[in-house]
């Protein structure tokens, strides 16, 4: 495999891991449910997208023919993540969960 391809694949894989970790830090650290939904919702889509794109590049270069299975994962995650976040946010609103405000202490 060429060096340029290896560099691209490695960078995409590590970038995807970093994005997923950022989303999880948001999930663990932010103070209320809506923020915790907001944190991983976007970062995770990017993370999965980066890793799947890395695998598309890797196998396309290595097998010398396009292997586009990863694009299916990207498409599916990009469609379903906003939908599930929307549903969960609706559930959280329905349950009247407390919202964080700056002047109040952390609950």
């Amino acid at each position: 495999m060429s060096v340029a391809g290896e560099i691209v694949v490695s960078a995409l894989v590590v970038l995807g891991g970093v994005f997923c970790l950022l989303g999880s830090i948001g999930l663990a650290r932010l103070p209320d449910v809506f923020m915790r939904l907001h944190g991983p919702g976007k970062a995770t889509t990017l993370g999965v997208g980066c890793v799947a794109l890395a695998s598309v590049v890797h196998f396309s270069v290595r097998l010398n023919s396009p292997s586009l299975g990863g694009l299916l994962i990207i498409l599916f995650v990009a469609i379903t993540t906003p939908v599930s976040a929307h549903l969960v946010a609706k559930a959280a609103l329905h349950r009247r969960l407390p919202q964080w405000r700056r002047d109040r202490d952390e609950s």
């Binding site: 894989v13 997923c20 999930l27 695998s55 993540t81 599930s84 969960v88």
Partner: protein
């Protein structure tokens, strides 16, 4: 180089999954736990293609797709249940 990068990605994704699991254990409300499960399956869905790159096999795409589908169904069903008290009305 790819081996090092995938090892690093495994470590990062593992820490991410541990943080999500901590939120799953601790979360003050059910909704937090649902979000944590959502995050856990998406992280698994990101880990499988990285494992496929590392092992140089295309076998794991289908597994990642199935995990993504079942995870979305799980989250949707949980949210529906929390909203309506029932999944299929």
């Amino acid at each position: 180089m790819i081996a090092t990068a995938t090892n690093l990605a495994f470590a990062l994704l593992g820490i991410a999954m541990m943080l999500a699991f901590w939120r799953l254990l601790r979360g003050p409300d059910v909704v937090d736990r649902v979000v944590a499960i959502d995050k856990l399956y998406v992280n698994a869905c990101a880990m499988l293609p990285a494992y496929g790159i590392r092992m140089d096999t295309l076998l794991h795409f289908e597994a990642a797709l199935i995990i993504a589908m079942l995870g979305f169904l799980t989250t949707a069903a949980f949210a529906k249940f929390l909203l309506r008290g029932d999944i299929i009305e």
